[in-house]
Symmetry: C2
Subunit: 349 residues, 2 copies
């Protein structure tokens, strides 16, 4: 029997909210045992949607939020004026201890800004990072930062490595995940100062982590490491480049297969393989990026996802709560800090 977990939900975030959100929660409550929802949003819109889902209504409490953060709202503006938005109230619920996690499919920048201000970082962590699981040729890997921090120094990267390691143990269930730093070459001399210094620190780290060294862009999808550490600028561009490449590949594959009667017939016969193939790259399977390093579990869903994808993001949040992700992260951060007294001050600033 699972302990009861309450997840706060931003009911108004995402391209097809609130319908998609309610559909996603209905799916999630079938998939997840012992989970209840605290749903924030426009009660006039949400009430009829919930009424149509009796099973969900049993585990879902609705809280009216008079406003919603729009997709083009600047983070600073959302932070200043958005105190009554569904996003902000959902984050507040975690801060107040009413919920163990928050999930939003809304404006990423606003979510990061609000979550950082409301929840604050864990002791020893300078900046939270956005982390998610990605497919590789072997087993999935964890990649971070995916865009929370545009400029990162060596210490940030070292913290991302520790956070990613704990995330991989939780989310992927690995005993000792290997960690690589994304770089333009694998030799120690390559790259910018931040990656070189971070690699040196991790190489000498007293933490029981498995540091692989540098990895290149094509090593990521080859599955060379379980955790890929990078700054938010590079990580965001690499992830979106991979997503775009998958789309381009699928587009051309379809175009060629549909080009003649013969190839259409072949594609029809090979259909089971093509269906399984598409399922491997289904972005919904990998939906749910965690903003890791905060006093609370905060998961960002893709704004354009559907109910299946949103339910998956809720599942990510529940897993992290259930496996006590933040407690394990705090322990590792304490070990890291106490092993490097000279860094203590810098990290605490």
């Amino acid at each position: 029997m699972h302990e009861k977990i309450i997840v706060a939900i931003d009911g108004m975030g995402g391209d097809n909210a609130p319908q998609m959100i309610v559909d996603g929660l209905a799916l999630a409550c079938q998939q997840l045992e012992g989970v209840e929802f605290l749903l924030f949003g426009d009660s006039e819109k949400l009430t009829p949607l919930l009424d149509a889902k009796p099973q969900l209504s049993e585990v879902c409490t609705l809280r009216h939020a008079p406003e919603a953060v729009s997709n083009d709202e600047k983070p600073t503006v959302a932070l200043r004026n958005g105190r009554h938005t569904s996003m902000r109230l959902a984050i507040d619920a975690v801060k107040e201890g009413e919920a163990s996690a928050v999930v939003s499919a809304g404006n990423t920048g606003a979510l990061m800004a609000m979550a950082l201000v409301v929840l604050r970082t864990l002791p020893g962590i300078g900046r939270p990072a956005l982390a998610t699981a990605i497919p590789t040729e072997t087993t999935p890997a964890i990649m971070l930062d995916l865009g929370a921090n545009i400029e990162c120094d060596a210490e940030d990267l070292v913290q991302f490595a520790v956070m990613g390691e704990v995330f991989a143990r939780n989310e992927l269930g690995l005993e000792q995940p290997s960690i690589g730093i994304l770089n333009v070459g694998v030799e120690g001399l390559k790259g910018n100062d931040a990656v070189k210094k971070a690699a040196a620190t991790l190489q000498d780290s007293p933490l029981p982590i498995k540091f692989y060294g540098f990895v290149e862009g094509d090593d990521v999808s080859a599955g060379k490491v379980d955790v890929v550490v990078t700054d938010g600028f590079t990580g965001n561009i690499a992830l979106k480049t991979a997503e775009g490449t998958v789309r381009m590949f699928g587009h051309f594959l379809k175009e060629e297969l549909m080009s003649t009667w013969r190839t259409k017939l072949g594609a029809f016969i090979a259909r089971p393989a093509l269906v399984r193939f598409r399922a491997r790259f289904d972005p919904r399977k990998y939906n749910g990026a965690m903003l890791v390093g905060l006093n609370g579990i905060c998961v960002k869903s893709h704004g354009g996802t559907d109910a299946i994808g949103f339910a998956n993001a809720v599942g990510v949040a529940v897993n992290l709560v259930r496996r006590k992700f933040n407690d394990r992260l705090k322990e590792d951060m304490e070990r890291l800090i106490s092993s490097q007294p000279e860094r203590k001050t810098a990290a605490a600033q």
Copy 2:
């Protein structure tokens, strides 16, 4: 009738040199009219290979080079001790006016270092950039920098934009290529200082260029712009991420299609489509990255390519010479510099 062009070739660079190089030149001399080669390398090894290709031998002059740059040689060491290597002598031939371009499949770092020292940059250009054509859902695009410069400021990016624009007009035959700067978002407020300042400069530029603005990682393969400008760290990682994703995609597609008798049959019938599909992503078609911004045409071939890929890289070099790439680039750089007098000094430093 084409004007005669002489291309200097590093005969010893690349995983399967010198056999692959000679095979590639034999192909290139069939494809390209009015082109002759000045081939540098170990004459004992190269003479029998050339003897086996009578057609090539007619347009190929062999020059003995007693040494070769190894793949793991550090650029600084290659620069200091590599004066008698096939790579260096081939670059020297461009400097001396004996050849109009140099092509090497050898050590990238050594090639960049040697080419920079020997050929030097064109007036007004701070640093050369590595540029290549990449496939997109629409027409191919030019991307730069792919790794020549790990850290870049706004002025570097602006220069890359101008160089990329001229490259796209030459290599892709476009009349007015559109230019985008790779970033983590399309709004003006996103990104690091370098991309924000570079975008502002290009927006106000008096040059007759078509500046699109920012593009994200997935916009590149969608073909949103003809020229993608980025720093060498991000560009290298993005390009290799895309290459790795294509490989992963192909790996899974094959695995699924070969999984049962039914899907194998379907794949057999759809074979023409799968063959055309594979050809679209053939890396040999896109082989040949230019080190742009130098006093001379210098093209880098993938080290692991074959004769077809190497012949393509030679073709890239010949096109650039024939279309007077450097003259056009010089004109544009002069216009850029004269339009921004306050930048003149900085660029000249």
